[in-house]
């Protein structure tokens, strides 16, 4: 009976995993379709939709907008998030939990509201379509992600290591550079990756702030979806999925690096 229950659960899990992955896999398959319209399964395969994607200056424009915005958001939120997370782990101030929960509010507040408020201000300043500005706005919503990742990462850095560094004559900056940052490095990289990804995939804020000049990939997908489900969107989607895949892969590598560091197995014999 226990075995039957176990088998039922396994079957259920297999089905659930299939349902979770199928939509993503289908998009990837369709991206290689050789046909002129969406049909599953495609009767032939080709790279024509990727060619259409990368061959179209407007899509290329979107790609570069997405990249620039994501890079700016990633750098700002990683730097600020690192400092903030460090303050939470090492600082001594009242109501830490409340302060942290305030810092995390941007991921809780519906993006529509945030986006419209930003749009309201952005329009007043005439900054619609300014990629640098959009990058800063994205940093607001990627910052909490960085803080959450780096909190756990910095909590793993023994305070005595910092004290040792200071007592051995290192200045605050020296200890930051030689002890804290190297030890938190996998966490910093991984938070930067996820901040990049979150910005790269963000739609709603971009939708309001992009104007016609700075349409990101998600914005252009959104605009196209209102017209027709053309296969080139499958290619763009597959590209975004691939970016996610690369980020997850890097994160996995960073984790194994961190584990290796924890066991001191790196670089030595």
């Amino acid at each position: 009976m226990g075995r039957a229950r176990g088998a039922t659960l396994s079957f259920y899990i297999a089905l659930a995993c299939l349902l979770l992955m199928v939509p993503i896999l289908i998009v990837c398959v369709l991206a290689f379709s050789g046909e002129g319209y969406l049909r599953f399964p495609p009767s032939s395969f080709s790279f024509r939709w990727f060619a259409a994607f990368f061959g179209d200056t407007r899509w290329r424009q979107s790609l570069s907008s997405s990249l620039i915005i994501a890079l700016i958001a990633c750098v700002i939120s990683t730097v600020l998030g690192f400092f903030a997370a460090y303050a939470f782990v090492r600082g001594d101030f009242r109501a830490k939990k409340i302060v942290l929960s305030v810092l995390l509010i941007p991921i809780i507040v519906p993006h529509v509201i945030t986006a419209i408020a930003m749009y309201f201000v952005t329009a007043k300043f005439g900054l619609i379509g300014n990629v640098v500005w959009i990058g800063f706005c994205h940093a607001v919503v990627t910052l909490p992600i960085v803080v959450l990742i780096l909190l756990s990462s910095l909590q793993g850095v023994d305070i005595n290591l910092e004290r040792a560094g200071l007592s051995l004559g290192g200045s605050r900056v020296y200890v930051f550079r030689r002890v804290v940052i190297p030890l938190a490095f996998p966490g910093i990289m991984s938070s930067a990756l996820f901040a990049f990804l979150a910005s790269f995939d963000e739609l709603i804020i971009s939708l309001f702030l992009a104007g016609v000049r700075a349409q990101t990939l998600p914005v252009r997908i959104w605009n196209s979806l209102h017209l027709e489900l053309e296969p080139v969107i499958a290619a763009v989607s597959a590209f975004l999925i691939a970016v996610t895949g690369v980020v997850l892969l890097f994160d996995m590598l960073l984790r194994s690096l961190r584990d290796a560091k924890a066991t001191g197995k790196d670089g030595s014999t």
Binding site: L20, F88, F93
Partner: protein, 282 residues
């Protein structure tokens, strides 16, 4: 010199840059938006009047009801479907664990627009599901799976599932399996053990997961906008329309404030029942 430097350095000060960003690009825009738009009404009385008007308008009341109803359904669906997945994750190791986690994580980090698009491809009139069913002769005419409540529920449940599973998993991982063994050893049946031991121990995760999913669901925009029908208008969509189409900034501000208030109340509850550091399954 050094003395003052030592005394003056307080790690808490490193919070300031992050808060500066938050205040400049989040708090000020929100306040400016609300105050600026409502100030145009002239008097406080006029603002109150607009509030009453907007929040009692049938279209908006409908949207609020729909929003809460869909969000509640999605919360229940993610919980019922996700609970066994989280249980499996918490009680397996090796490649099985890695595979299931992979199937949760990949959609989790894939763009919402991509995930929504993929379901549109699957559920569309000429989508993969209809084509498969037609070619197998199970149905004669394509089913209407998209642009109705069914579509919204499927899409949102799919998009929010990882939040539920990862939150549940975080709680379940810390449940001591010996407690379940002890219950079996004391003669309890599996069902009784689940009801009296495992489920109560996982309840914290259930509440946290339900809250986070519900909070995210009531502010949802992309998926219902693309997959819903005319009767499945959620409040976030009305806000977007007010700004983009009808240019009715006042309504947009009032609806935003209502939605923001709901969100923050739920967030306060979430804050009380759970550890915010674990948010998003971090």
């Amino acid at each position: 010199m050094t003395q003052r430097a030592h005394r003056a350095f307080d790690p808490s000060l490193l919070l300031l840059p992050a808060f500066a960003l938050l205040i400049l690009l989040f708090v000020i825009p929100l306040v400016w938006f609300f105050v600026g738009v409502l100030a145009e009404e002239g008097s406080v009385g006029a603002v109150v009047e607009r509030f009453v008007d907007v929040l009692t308008a049938p279209g908006i009341v409908n949207a609020l009801v729909t929003t809460n109803w869909i969000s509640a359904l999605v919360t229940v669906l993610t919980l019922v479907i996700g609970y066994p997945i989280a249980y499996y994750l918490a009680n397996s190791t090796g490649w099985r664990f890695a595979l299931v986690l992979f199937c949760i994580i990949v959609p989790y980090f894939t763009s919402v627009i991509v995930r929504t698009y993929s379901w549109m491809v699957l559920l569309g009139r000429n989508g993969a599901i209809n084509q498969t069913l037609l070619s197998l002769g199970i149905i004669d005419a394509p089913l209407q799976l998209l642009y109705n409540k069914m579509g919204v529920l499927i899409g949102m449940t799919y998009v929010l599932m990882p939040y539920m599973v990862l939150t549940l998993y975080a709680t379940m991982r810390s449940i001591d399996t010996n407690l379940v063994r002890a219950a079996y050893g004391l003669g309890a049946s599996p069902l009784y053990t689940f009801r009296k031991v495992y489920f109560p121990l996982s309840l914290h995760g259930v509440i946290s997961g339900a809250l986070i999913v519900f909070i995210l669901a009531i502010g949802f925009f992309i998926t219902p906008a693309l997959m819903g029908g005319p009767s499945d208008v959620m409040i976030a969509m009305l806000i977007e329309r007010a700004v983009e189409i009808t240019l009715d900034w006042t309504s947009a501000a009032i609806m935003s404030m209502a939605l923001l208030a709901m969100t923050l109340v739920l967030y306060v509850i979430y804050y009380r029942v759970t550890d915010v550091r674990r948010m998003m399954g971090a």
